[in-house]
């Protein structure tokens, strides 16, 4: 037995347990999702009945699903854009300036990322509380009481209110990623630009963003996926999809169909759709941001 063969064997032995876990807990359930989406099944006891693509056809005649999809689309566009923008600006300010309280801000901004989503949702549902909430009380204090409203109870504001929560939750996390990225940019570049008379804003546009571009591309995809998953917890606790489904997102609707309406097959079809949807979205985002590499 040669050294090479032994090394191969060692590598295989190390890989196989992980591979088995991956197949068993990721690949196999995922395949089941695809497979079960072709069936009529309550998800409890009876035998699934094959109905082909009917679940998928039904999906596009389902007003609630389409509304949920629109709401999800709104969050997927709004949240990553603002989150990443805020994260980038904050990261750049905290690394490039000589603020004394840098350390405190760094901790404060990152803090939401270590809180559980449930805690965040409960916290914000009290911030938005129509009478005793921090937001409305604060507005009254500032003499803006006439503009105070039931933010989570109004179909015009509910999605924006949820978006703010999602942005607040994620911005600090991406900020830390960007800060690490900025630290690895050679200070010479900034110094040279500074000598040439570039303002901090110009440095941000022409040095920071291009140098971080690869990291930004990845965080866009992370952020989109984050919205898809986190929105479930936030919506369930803060609004229960209300008022009148105006904050229903695809994940809450999927859950409702699977576990409230006992339509497991239909729920799996929604799951497949979400999967395909997010893969396509990631590909599009990858394609759109590609030219930035050069």
């Amino acid at each position: 037995m040669t050294l090479k063969a032994r090394r191969r064997f060692f590598m295989a032995a190390c890989l196989i347990p992980g591979l088995i876990m991956f197949i068993l807990f990721k690949l196999y359930p995922a395949m089941q999702v695809f497979y079960k989406s072709f069936f009529l099944w309550t998800g409890i006891g009876d035998k699934p009945k094959f109905i082909g693509l009917k679940n998928f056809v039904d999906m596009f005649h389902d007003d609630v699903f389409l509304l949920a999809l629109r709401n999800t689309g709104f969050l997927i566009v709004i949240v990553p854009v603002f989150t990443l923008l805020i994260a980038l600006v904050n990261a750049s300010i905290l690394t490039r300036t000589k603020l004394k309280e840098k350390g405190i801000y760094r901790t404060l901004f990152f803090f939401p990322s270590i809180l559980s989503f449930v805690v965040i949702a409960i916290l914000w549902s009290f911030i938005y509380h129509p009478t005793i909430g921090f937001l409305n009380s604060g507005m009254e204090l500032l003499g803006l009481g006439d503009y105070a409203m039931a933010w989570l109870g109004d179909s015009r504001t509910v999605l924006w209110a949820l978006a703010v929560t999602l942005i607040w939750q994620a911005a600090g996390y991406y900020m830390v990623i960007y800060m690490a990225g900025i630290d690895s940019i050679s200070p010479d570049l900034y110094e040279a630009a500074g000598i040439d008379g570039a303002t901090p804003f110009e440095q941000f546009i022409h040095i920071t963003i291009p140098m971080l571009w690869e990291i930004i591309r990845i965080t866009i995809i992370f952020s989109i996926n984050g919205v898809l998953t986190i929105s479930f917890v936030i919506v369930t606790i803060m609004t229960a999809g209300g008022p009148d489904r105006h904050s229903e997102v695809v994940m809450t609707y999927l859950y409702q169909q699977a576990f409230t309406n006992s339509n497991f097959g239909y729920a799996m079809a929604i799951g497949v759709f979400v999967f395909v949807f997010s893969v396509i979205l990631s590909l599009i985002s990858n394609k759109l941001t590609e030219r930035g590499v050069s």
Binding site: T42, I44, T239, T260, N261, Y266
Partner: protein, 464 residues
Amino acid sequence: MKWHKILSAVSACALSVSLLAGCGNSSSSDSGSSDTAGTSDGGSKKVANGELNIAVFQGGYGREYWDQISDEFMKDHPDTKINITASPKIAELVRPKIVAGNPPDLMYIAGGDNLPILDGLIKDKALTDLSDIFNTDEGSGALKDKMLPGVLESRSMAPYGDGKIYLAPFNFGVLGLWYNKTLFDQKSIQTPKTWDELFAMNATAKDNGRALFTYQGLYPGYLDEVIIPSIYDLGGQKALDQFFDYDPEFWKSDVFKQVWGNIQKFANEDNGLMKGTVALNHTQAQTSFMQGKAMFIPNGTWFEDEMKDAPREEGFQFGFLGIPSFNSGSSVKAMSQIEQIVIPAKAKNPELAAEFLKYIYTDKSIKLNAEKSKAVMAVKDAADLAKPFISETTYNVYKAVDNGMELVNGTFKTVAKGSRYSPKDEVYKTISSLMNKQMTLDQYSDKMYKMYSEVSKELKDSAE
């Protein structure tokens, strides 16, 4: 030599892979083919002995009752052993077991998050017929005569409309409007008997610095406590049947216009609906009510216990009003809600489960339940058996029922398998738009008409 070692290691790896893969396979094929295994196994046993696995909801009532009643049962029936699984999220725990064809022998399922699993089991026809347990006379009269009248015949217990009982009644709640008794006593305000009287109290409410009404905004489903008795009040059982059996014409009827018009009136009248109600969850709304921000709120007999730690205005005392009627002649009504116990069709030991179920209805057990859970079972005179253990407010609510408050109960017909509608959600969630004045009563009625037409068509198609 070395090769040998490697080979054995590789084969060991391969073996473990196939073992794991085998696990995956067997569990998936289990769910398909196990319907034969479970029933034949249980059917052969005649004597009530052996092991009983029960799954119980551990909610506001706790699990102490179940622990003790099991001990008592095991004392009276040597040779038996009861294993209890209890959780607030009991449906999540039993679901995988049911899917694998290995359900508990007896399940007490309650609580909003858990109830859908019962709907699923009903859709699948996966419950044991309990009619014999209630109809058979074992010397001391049939068990069915012990139950509150009308309960066993209701759709909650006999879901297929053929008179056969598949769900056994357990704890019983009364639901309606609540008010602050101290406030009413101190200012000598009369409790309203009709809706006109109630709306006329708006000025009084305003004088006392509160809105007339609030409800659990994020969960408009609580409004059924107002709506269902109101439908019955105006249109009797006939209108209620239309509503629960998906007759689209219901949404064009006068009953609909009056009942929903009434709900809408809270939103339309100045000071009618507490500010921001639509955005509040149940605890927030209930706390606001107890702090004196609103005069009335719908809720059930569990209210006092649920909110025992919540802040309240000084001297607050729970008062139960029920649901006012539309005509001064008819009585005040209230909705009743009864928790359910089931024996799955694939239970391993249905005989013992049946014995245990009968045991639950003994006087000893009813008293124990009252003592440990502070709950009242849906049997005759249960309130009096429970009196030493429950609060005066709660006792009075149950007593009000005995003294002429009419109880109304009902459940939506189970929709066709595969239907994407949950009529309860559709009907109640849409009310948020009415309350926000973003939908008119006509638009609401059109939407519901369409939904009912589709649901009843699906039911017709699936019956063919």
